[in-house]
């Protein structure tokens, strides 16, 4: 096992090598029950409570296909512009491992439910990259092993292992791309954007909660380098279980630099699976392809073929929700944002937030101003996602309504926002509690104006003489006296009335 740690600088690597990659994404479907089994499936249940004889692979148990899972798989296939098979079969993938109760996984092999599709991926600069989809197929998840007694939960050195079969049989759809070529130096960004696009798609389609941190969506990244786009494909590696958007980007980038170093040294890339290490940001060798298991695939004799009625497929197609890319185009039109503005909103993950804020009564411009301004700065400071800020679109809508009603000005509004973020309650409550309402009664204002004029007689004199330049000094003094709660425009009117009238 060679572990060359000398990496080639990324820019250097992509100047001399053309990366080609492919991604396999597994998504757990959010069906009530499992793929072939009446056992319920939900996240976080006590170990081995969501099981039946089928989940456990007990002697005599047989699978029966979950119709909802098939429908979800078809939804995914249609959203990825795939053809839907008129007839397809499940197959057994045979291998021994304790988290696979039957010692084979029921999957699809050469007859996937969906095939030959594509999806457009929007990149940060507003350009679009089309990824070709080879297939999307149905299969079942394995159980979950916990290794006890070893270092860091690894099997090596463990004294025993526990298996939770709750996850065994959870429906999965695996989406496989064709080799993605032509991304060049942008390969890491395209890879990340692709997985993100799929995640958004799963949520929009309602087929999965698609929560990366729960392992609902998992990615394997295949990558190879070649000397030029005209050269034949190089030897690839498959990096398993790259399970966040950022990790996908980093793993692609790392493999480019590692493989470039191997090739530069005159060595050959070993065809193997590799493990991704989130902490160190590197990959390490796993199984070499030559000792890969022979899975002895054959058609699953316990299940009859799936033959979705074409009319049903058309019903599903007609009922597909508006997909994320189309929706973004529609919203940009409705909101009247410039291309660059919309791109920033998308990149900041603010589309849903702004949509909800507009629905709560704010104008699109005001909604964008809040989320992309003050709130974006706060999120950046705290290093969290916009959506994770402790404030809701409804609260921003309510805040903006206070501004629109003239009850607070922009400066006061920022103070109210600060209060809401600090957990002081709804905008209205913060406003009252902090006493931030604009002073709209002329009485106190006139008193403050008279004080200011008396304190600055020279300024008052200039104004009376028709020089309006120094009015600001009086307004400033009044604002200061009212702790900013005065409407500056009204103060100006009153100052002029007082001096000239």
């Amino acid at each position: 096992m060679t572990t060359s740690v000398d990496l080639v600088d990324y820019d250097e690597a992509v100047s001399r090598y053309d990366p080609v990659f492919g991604i396999e994404v597994h998504v757990e479907l959010g069906t009530r029950t499992k793929m072939f089994d009446g056992a319920e499936q939900s996240f976080g249940a006590e170990p081995n409570t969501q099981i039946t004889p089928v989940s456990l692979g007990l002697p005599g148990a047989l699978p029966a296909v979950n119709g909802t899972a098939v429908e979800y798989a078809i939804r995914i296939g249609l959203a990825l512009n795939c053809s839907i098979a008129e007839r397809c079969r499940f197959a057994r993938k045979n291998y021994f491992y304790p988290d696979v109760p039957k010692n084979f996984q029921t999957s699809q092999y050469d007859e996937p439910i969906a095939y030959d599709g594509w999806v457009d991926v929007d990149l940060e600069d507003g350009t679009t990259f089309r990824v070709q989809i080879e297939r999307a197929h149905m299969e079942e998840d394995a159980g979950k092993n916990t290794h006890v007694g070893g270092e860091g939960g690894r099997i090596h050195g463990a004294t025993y292992s526990l298996v939770d079969y709750n996850r065994a049989g959870v429906p999965l759809v695996e989406i496989v791309t064709r080799p993605i070529e032509g991304a060049g130096a942008r390969a890491p960004e395209v890879a990340r954007a692709y997985v993100q696009t799929l995640r958004d798609l799963f949520r929009t389609l309602g087929v999965s909660e698609a929560r990366m941190e729960r392992g609902n969506v998992r990615a394997d990244v295949n990558l190879s380098l070649r000397t030029s786009p005209d050269a034949p494909l190089g030897t690839r590696t498959e990096t398993k279980n790259v399970n966040s958007f950022r990790a996908v980007e980093r793993a692609v980038r790392y493999e480019v630099t590692r493989q470039a170093a191997v090739l530069d040294a005159g060595e050959t890339v070993v065809q193997e699976t590799r493990h991704w290490h989130e902490d160190t940001g590197i990959t390490t060798p796993g199984r070499v392809k030559s000792d890969a298991e022979d899975y002895r695939y054959f058609p699953e004799p316990d299940l009859v073929p799936i033959a979705p009625d074409p009319a049903w497929v058309e019903e599903i197609r007609a009922a597909l929700p508006e997909l994320p890319a189309a929706r973004r185009r529609r919203l940009q039109g409705e909101w009247g944002y410039a291309d660059a503005e919309m791109r920033d909103v998308v990149n900041a993950g603010a589309v849903e937030l702004i949509e909800a804020t507009v629905a709560a009564g704010a104008s699109p411009a005001a909604a964008r101003k809040w989320w992309m301004g003050e709130l974006a700065r706060t999120a950046k400071q705290q290093e969290i996602e916009l959506a994770d800020l402790p404030i809701t679109p409804a609260q921003i809508g309510a805040l903006q309504q206070l501004v629109d009603a003239g009850r607070i000005n922009d400066k006061l509004a920022r103070q109210v926002l600060e209060g809401v973020l600090a957990g002081e309650g709804e905008p209205e409550q913060v406003l009252v509690a902090r006493g931030l309402e604009v002073v709209s009664d002329d009485g106190p204002l006139l008193a403050a104006i008279d004080d200011a004029l008396a304190a600055q007689p020279d300024v008052a004199e200039k104004i009376r003489g028709g020089n309006l330049g120094p009015v600001g000094a009086i307004i400033g003094a009044v604002m200061k006296a009212t702790r900013g709660q005065a409407d500056a425009a009204r103060v100006r009117e009153l100052v002029l009335e007082r001096v000239q009238g």
Partner: protein, 505 residues
């Protein structure tokens, strides 16, 4: 009590139970006593569930006394092949790897049996995981043929056939992957039916070869087989290969057949399933039965099924391939036997290997190795792929033959019961026993074996009837007619000629 209740057919017993001339507890007790008396030498049962059977019987009697409606077979005892899972009753499939395993659930057909109120007497012996034609591959000892205790009772369902032949049970459940219901029926002088694939749910049958396995009735008469088939058939959402059809009236077909009138029925004799390798006595009884069918008005035609000669070869690729995958779950991780390696670390992989090495018998290992090889990358097309093509050709042979005939017939097995140990060291000779029964499994069509007399050696000969898929009723009509005509000529059932077993005290 003047009548020996164990000598009654299920249909007769059912009538006496219905008229309350006999109670279910009496009927069950009589059979349990018979098991105690003769099962030592016969060894049809691996487990006898006397308490549960009597409890079921008492419950049926109570329901009858209360005037509650009960199933016609309520109170008629039954034996179940040990490959069928039974909640709370040990289920081993004849294998050491499942020693003492007690399933937490019932097979669908067992649920039907339980809800109809048939007392389950126990579980019957079989070749390990139903691999064999003699029941000698059981990990729990041989079952002996009640006609001659030195001979095999057939297999894999030798226990169910012997139990019925020895009057230990009027009804039994068998499973048939390549003849495991029909061949034991033939060599024990009983009736066995392999239904159309999908007629009876496979949920809860410990799978041998999923695309071939089918459970069915093991009985002493054609009518009893129809009664039991009627009970266990029907669509099951837990088995996606089970047929959605309404269950036809098999009982009516059997009763109609018993009139002995077969006018208008075309009976096709399969040319390829006779001649070389078939004992003269077997062929003689077969031809006499054909004469009886002709006399009953049937038209006898000869049909050719040219691809049947490849059936055995195809079967011994498809079966091991599916079995190698189906038996992968027996690994010591979740249930059944667990063996740790003698030396070295007890890793999961090594425990799996040690468990499988210790828990599986030779025949099972032989077929797992064959099947693993047949499915390997690079060999799949040549072996499994080609075998599936042969299967298609055999299905076409059946389709063509059924255009010329309503049912097809052949001897069930080429020979009568051989001696224990005679073929144990020659797997290929053992496999040849199923040459006539295997084609039906490959095509999914139904088949029946019924007794057609005794061969020159005084042992029973089986007559096989095959029908198109979903036309199981034809088996009962033709089988019912032939049975009636034969019993007329014998002046009683064939089994009445079997030697009396010595009863233990």
């Amino acid at each position: 009590m003047s009548t020996d209740l164990t000598r009654l057919t299920a249909a007769e017993l059912s009538e006496r139970l219905a008229s309350r001339e006999v109670s279910a507890v009496e009927a069950t007790t009589a059979h349990l006593d018979r098991i105690t008396a003769v099962d030592g030498p016969v060894h049809a049962f691996l487990h006898v569930s006397a308490d549960q059977a009597l409890a079921t019987a008492a419950d049926v009697d109570a329901r009858r006394s209360a005037g509650a409606p009960v199933h016609p077979l309520a109170g008629v005892p039954i034996a179940v092949k040990d490959v069928v899972v039974t909640r709370g009753l040990p289920t081993t499939a004849g294998s050491a790897i499942l020693r003492d395993w007690v399933p937490p659930y019932d097979a669908t057909l067992v649920q039907k049996i339980k809800s109809a109120g048939l007392p389950i007497l126990g579980k019957t012996n079989m070749d390990e995981f139903a691999m064999g034609s003699s029941t000698e591959h059981s990990a729990y000892g041989n079952t002996h043929n009640p006609w001659d205790l030195d001979r095999i009772p057939g297999g894999s369902g030798g226990g169910s056939a012997a139990a019925v032949a020895a009057y230990e049970a009027p009804l039994a459940i068998g499973t048939d992957t390549g003849g495991s219901i029909r061949q034991p029926a033939a060599v024990t002088g009983t009736v066995g039916v392999k239904p159309t694939y999908g007629s009876v749910s496979r949920y809860g049958l410990i799978a041998l070869a999923s695309s071939l396995d089918q459970a069915g009735p093991v009985t002493r008469t054609v009518l009893d087989a129809a009664l039991l088939h009627q009970l266990i058939a029907g669509h099951d959402p837990l088995d996606s290969t089970s047929l959605p059809d309404e269950v036809p009236d098999y009982v009516a077909a059997a009763r109609a057949g018993a009139s002995g009138d077969l006018r208008g029925v075309r009976v096709g004799v399969i040319r390829e399933l006779q001649g070389d390798g078939y004992q003269p006595g077997v062929l003689a009884r077969f031809n006499e039965s054909l004469d009886l069918l002709r006399e009953a008005g049937a038209e006898i035609v000869e049909v050719s099924c040219p691809h049947f000669q490849y059936a055995l070869a195809a079967y011994y690729l498809i079966l091991p391939a599916e079995a190698s995958s189906n038996l992968a779950k027996f690994d010591g991780m979740r249930f059944g036997l667990r063996v740790e390696p003698d030396h070295g670390p007890a890793t999961a992989e090594r425990v799996m290997a040690a468990t499988r090495g210790a828990g599986f018998g030779d025949e099972v290992k032989r077929r797992i190795i064959l099947g693993t090889y047949a499915l390997s990358a690079g060999y799949y097309d040549a072996y499994y792929g080609s075998a599936q093509k042969v299967r298609t050709l055999i299905q076409r042979d059946f389709t063509a033959a059924f255009e010329q005939a309503d049912v097809l017939v052949s001897p069930t097995a080429p020979t009568t019961a051989f001696r224990l140990g005679e073929k144990l060291d020659d797997p290929l000779a053992m496999y040849l026993n199923d040459v006539a029964t295997i084609p039906a499994n490959l095509a999914g069509v139904p088949g029946m074996s019924l007794p057609s007399g005794l061969s020159d050696d005084g042992l029973p000969v089986g007559f096989q009837v095959l029908a198109p898929a979903r036309e199981d009723a034809r088996l009962y009509r033709v089988g019912g007619a032939l049975e009636a005509l034969l019993e007329q000529s014998w002046e009683g059932p064939l089994l009445s000629r079997a030697p009396e077993l010595e009863e233990a005290r």
